[in-house]
Symmetry: C2
Subunit: 227 residues, 2 copies
């Protein structure tokens, strides 16, 4: 569902992408430990051996899922950071982007967020871990800059980033992309509380957090390509 398979029949990479997509969904639904080759193979009408042929081990498959996910998030972050320069707009963009992903690529997002903890210790996850650290550094830098520029109240940028990431990474446990709440509305509410909490004035908060405002639109454009 997340990405159209390259082409039916014989295509570059064959059913590789198909396997990754299905595996990702299984991880999202059951978690990594309970996801297994047998079920994925059965669902795709192929042999377990095929999966091994393409990916080698289960670990590497997860690593690839994480790396692809982080790669997209990083590209997207750099894209909207290039278009927005005000710290409060940038923070708002990070929140909007974080929420959007839950709808745009629900399976990949849930799979990633469920299993982020493996980035910290598991070997073979170095690349994904580095990507994640880079992303976190982007956010910390924005918070730091904002505090130094006087846009935000002084405070610990790292702690604030963790507070913010927590809210977003926790979404997978409760957010239903098919539910009544539009992601933009969740993002707006989160952004309002966060920016106000960082000391941004009320009228500015309303403008920047607007679910149909320029920041939301900028993020939407940047994230639009995939679907």
């Amino acid at each position: 569902m997340t990405e159209p398979v390259v082409a039916p029949g014989r295509a570059r990479g064959g059913r590789r992408d198909e396997i990754l997509v299905t595996f990702t969904r299984h991880v999202a639904e059951r978690g990594y430990d309970r996801a297994n080759f047998g079920d994925v193979a059965a669902e795709l009408g192929m042999s377990k051996g095929t999966i091994v042929h393409h990916f080698g081990t289960k670990d590497r498959m997860l690593a690839e899922v994480q790396e692809r996910y982080m790669r997209r998030r990083l590209d997207e972050a750099h894209a909207f950071l290039g278009r927005l320069s005000a710290p409060d707009e940038r923070v708002a963009a990070f929140v909007h982007a974080g929420v959007r992903y839950s709808t745009d690529e629900p399976a990949t997002t849930v799979a990633f967020q469920r299993e982020v903890v493996r980035l910290t210790d598991e070997p073979g996850m170095e690349t994904a871990r580095a990507q994640r650290d880079a992303y976190r550094d982007l956010v910390v830098a924005v918070l730091q800059d904002g505090a130094e520029a006087g846009v935000f109240v002084p405070g610990d940028a790292r702690l604030r980033s963790l507070q913010m990431f927590g809210s977003l990474h926790w979404m997978w446990t409760w957010f239903d992309p098919a539910g009544r709440l539009r992601p933009a509305d969740v993002a707006a509410e989160f952004t309002r509380t966060l920016l106000r909490g960082l000391g941004v004035g009320e009228e500015r908060v309303a403008a920047v957090a607007d679910p149909d405002g320029p920041v939301a639109r900028c993020v939407a454009e940047v994230c639009a390509p995939r679907s």
Copy 2:
């Protein structure tokens, strides 16, 4: 570490508590799926059969961990809600309590937070799920009351509670109880950002979020008994 074992040698319940404590630590360190009877038994110098004798199945063991954890959190919440009446103080207390637990009972807290997702679907978790819902309802009610009383800016209390829980439940991935950051400081920073974000005035925020202020002390007293 979390609770003193009832008594050495032959005591009421035998080594039951000991088993639960060790199992909890293993779940905290490796996650439920990778925690296993064999390792727990080996570490305690007993047979796997003993564990089965006391708990029946692995599922029930986890359920008991979750229920004990939630029971304590609920008792504690009712205790400080009984002592504090202002909505902003109550919110601050929830944050302080949430952070405190990461230090007071690190293993149990991590075990719980790692595996909360199982509360939503897994059967046999009804009790723990109900406890968790009750806890969430307490928080939502406080946020709702505060908004209606004009202490907080109007907004979706449920979303705000989820934003708040996210920050706290995410802590297990980064917070090190033995690190340089004191839990009270983390709680204070989180509380400041949150209360300001809810529209509480700056001087009030400073007073309520104070890591050595009355709210923090109240929570400390309520939580003190165990450890």
